[in-house]
C-alpha cells in the first residue's frame, strides 16, 4: 500500500488559495464582448418600435406618442437582436450585467421626456 498519496494535494491546496472569487471584495471581470445589459442612448432614439417587435421575450415596450422607451431587464435574454435591428444604432450592449433586484417591477427601466 502506498503512503503519503494525498500529501501532494494537501500541500498544493494549502499554498494555492481558493479557486473561487471572494465576491464582494473581488468583483468578476467581464470580457470586452460579454453580452450584458442593453443601453439606449435616449436622445438618438426615433421610437420606431422595431426593437420591441423583434424582441423574442417582449421585454421592450415603445410608445411613439409619449416618446417613451421601456425595458424589463428581468425579461431580457440578452440575445443582442435589438442592437442588430436598430436603424439609428442608439442601442448598445454593455459588458456588465444588470444589477440584482428584490422585486419584479424594479427590473423595469423607463426612458422618457420626464427623465429616467
Amino acid at each position: 500500500m502506498k503512503s503519503f498519496t494525498m500529501a501532494k494535494t494537501v500541500i498544493e491546496n494549502l499554498l494555492k488559495g481558493p479557486a473561487t472569487l471572494m465576491y464582494p471584495q473581488r468583483k468578476r471581470t467581464f470580457t470586452a464582448i460579454t453580452r450584458g445589459k442593453i443601453e439606449n442612448e435616449y436622445p438618438k432614439c426615433i421610437f420606431c418600435g422595431l426593437c420591441s417587435k423583434r424582441c423574442p421575450n417582449y421585454a421592450i415596450a415603445v410608445s411613439k406618442e409619449k416618446k417613451e422607451w421601456e425595458i424589463d431587464r428581468l425579461k431580457c435574454c440578452m440575445c443582442n437582436l435589438c442592437v442588430d435591428v436598430c436603424p439609428v444604432k442608439c442601442l448598445s450592449t454593455d459588458n456588465q450585467y444588470s444589477p440584482p433586484v428584490t422585486e419584479k417591477k424594479m427590473g423595469i427601466q423607463k426612458l422618457g421626456p420626464g427623465g429616467s
Binding site: A19, F30, T31, I33, T34, R35, R54, P56, C77, M78, C79, N80, L81
Partner: protein, 359 residues
C-alpha cells in the same frame, strides 16, 4: 409473490435538477415496471416559429437548452440553409465545429460533476466544476456569453476568432487535458465508483438498436452511431472516430463520455490547424420554401431538426426530435429488473436533458 408497491420518483428529485417523474412499480427491492411522465415545463417553442421571422428564430432555437445550445442553433441553421440553398463559407463551418466541440466538452465535464454528486462524491463534483470554468471562460471570450452561445445565424456565424486567440485556446485546452486526466483517473479507477456502476443498468447492443438509442448510451453498448461521421459542418475534414465500449452498463457510459472529452479537445486542435481564411457569413436573400431534416450530434446523441417553409418569412412547421426523448424507452427497459438503489445511477448515466425534451 411479493406485494407490489408504487414508489413515486420526481418530478423534484435529488438525481437531476430538472423535472421528470417516474412511477416505479416494485416487488421487494426490485423494480418491475416504470412509468415515466414528462411535460412539467413545456414551453411551446415549436408553435412560436409561426410568429417569428425565420432569421430571428435562431435566438429561440439557441435557447432550447443550455448544455446543447450551439447544436440546436446549428441544426436549425443547417436545415434553413439547405431549404434555401445557401452555401455557407468554409471558415464559418470550422468555427461552428470548434464551438460545438467546446459545448460538448463543457456538457460532458458538467455531467461528470453531476454524476459524481449522484454517487455521493461531493469533492469530485467541485473539482469537475472548477475545470469546467476553463471552458466557460473560453466560450465567454469568443462568443460573449458563458452558456448560450448566440453565434450561429442563417448563412454563417456572427463572430470570428482571430488566429492568435485560436492558438491560445488550443494551448489552454491542452493544459486542461492534463488536469482532466487527473480528474478522470478517479472515475476510471476508484473502487467505490466501479462498485456502484459496473454491471448496473445493462442494455445489449440488439436492444439498443431496436429501441432506437442514440448517443453515449448506444455507443456504450457497442452500437456504432455518431452523426459526426455522416459529415456536417467541418467534420468531413476532421478525423472523427466514434468512441465505442462493449460493456453496455453504467460504467461503460461513463468511460464513453470521458473519452469523448479528450476526443473533442483533439478535434478542436485539428480544426484550429486546418481552419481556412475567408468570410464568415453570406447575405441571406429570399425566404425558405420547402422542407428539410437536419441531423446533428449533440453531447447526448443525435438531434433532428425538421423545418418546413411555405415561401413567407414565417416558417410553417418546426420540429425537434431530441436525444433524451428517443432514449426514454431504453431508460424504461434498463430500469425493469434493476434494484431501487441503482435507479439514481441509471438515470444519471443516461444523462437526460429535460429542457431539450420540453421544447
Amino acid at each position: 409473490m411479493a406485494h407490489r408497491n408504487i414508489i413515486p420518483l420526481g418530478p423534484q428529485h435529488p438525481v437531476l435538477l430538472e423535472p421528470i417523474h417516474f412511477d416505479l412499480v416494485t416487488e421487494d427491492e426490485t423494480v418491475v415496471d416504470a412509468v415515466p411522465s414528462i411535460s412539467y415545463v413545456h414551453r411551446g417553442l415549436e408553435r412560436l416559429v409561426e410568429k417569428r421571422d425565420f432569421n430571428d428564430f435562431v435566438h429561440v432555437a439557441d435557447r432550447i437548452c443550455g448544455l446543447c445550445s450551439i447544436q440546436h442553433a446549428m441544426g436549425y441553421c443547417q436545415a434553413v440553409e439547405a431549404v434555401m440553398g445557401i452555401e455557407v463559407p468554409e471558415r464559418a463551418l470550422y468555427l461552428r465545429t470548434i464551438w460545438a466541440e467546446l459545448g460538448r466538452i463543457h456538457s460532458h465535464i458538467f455531467w461528470l460533476g453531476v454524476a459524481a454528486d449522484g454517487f455521493g462524491y461531493e469533492s469530485l463534483f467541485m473539482q469537475s466544476m472548477r475545470l469546467r470554468e476553463v471552458v466557460l471562460d473560453i466560450i465567454e471570450e469568443t462568443t460573449g456569453a458563458r452558456i448560450i452561445f448566440g453565434v450561429c445565424k442563417v448563412g454563417g456565424v456572427r463572430r470570428d476568432i482571430d488566429p492568435e486567440t485560436l492558438k491560445g485556446i488550443v494551448q489552454r485546452l491542452t493544459t486542461l487535458g492534463v488536469d482532466l486526466e487527473e480528474l478522470t483517473a478517479v472515475f476510471i479507477n476508484d473502487y467505490g465508483i466501479k462498485h456502484r456502476l459496473e454491471g448496473v443498468g445493462f442494455i445489449s447492443k440488439e436492444d439498443a438498436y431496436t429501441l432506437g438509442c442514440v448517443g453515449p448510451l448506444a455507443r456504450a453498448s457497442g452500437f456504432d452511431t455518431d452523426m459526426r461521421t455522416i459529415g456536417y459542418a467541418a467534420y468531413p475534414h476532421l478525423d472523427v472516430e466514434p468512441m465505442l465500449e462493449q460493456s453496455g452498463d453504467c460504467y461503460g457510459r461513463c468511460l464513453v463520455r470521458i473519452r469523448e472529452i479528450f476526443q473533442s479537445i483533439d478535434l478542436i486542435r485539428q480544426a484550429a490547424g486546418k481552419i481556412p481564411e475567408g468570410p464568415i457569413d453570406v447575405k441571406v436573400k429570399g425566404t425558405p420554401n420547402g422542407e428539410y431534416f437536419s441531423r446533428v450530434e449533440q453531447p447526448r446523441g443525435e438531434v433532428i431538426h425538421y423545418v418546413k417553409g411555405n415561401g413567407s418569412k414565417f416558417l410553417q412547421r418546426f420540429r425537434v426530435r431530441v436525444p433524451t426523448f428517443t432514449n426514454i424507452p431504453a431508460m424504461i427497459k434498463i430500469m425493469k429488473g434493476s434494484q431501487v438503489a441503482d435507479i439514481p445511477n441509471i438515470i444519471i448515466t443516461l444523462d437526460p436533458c429535460i429542457s431539450c425534451t420540453e421544447r
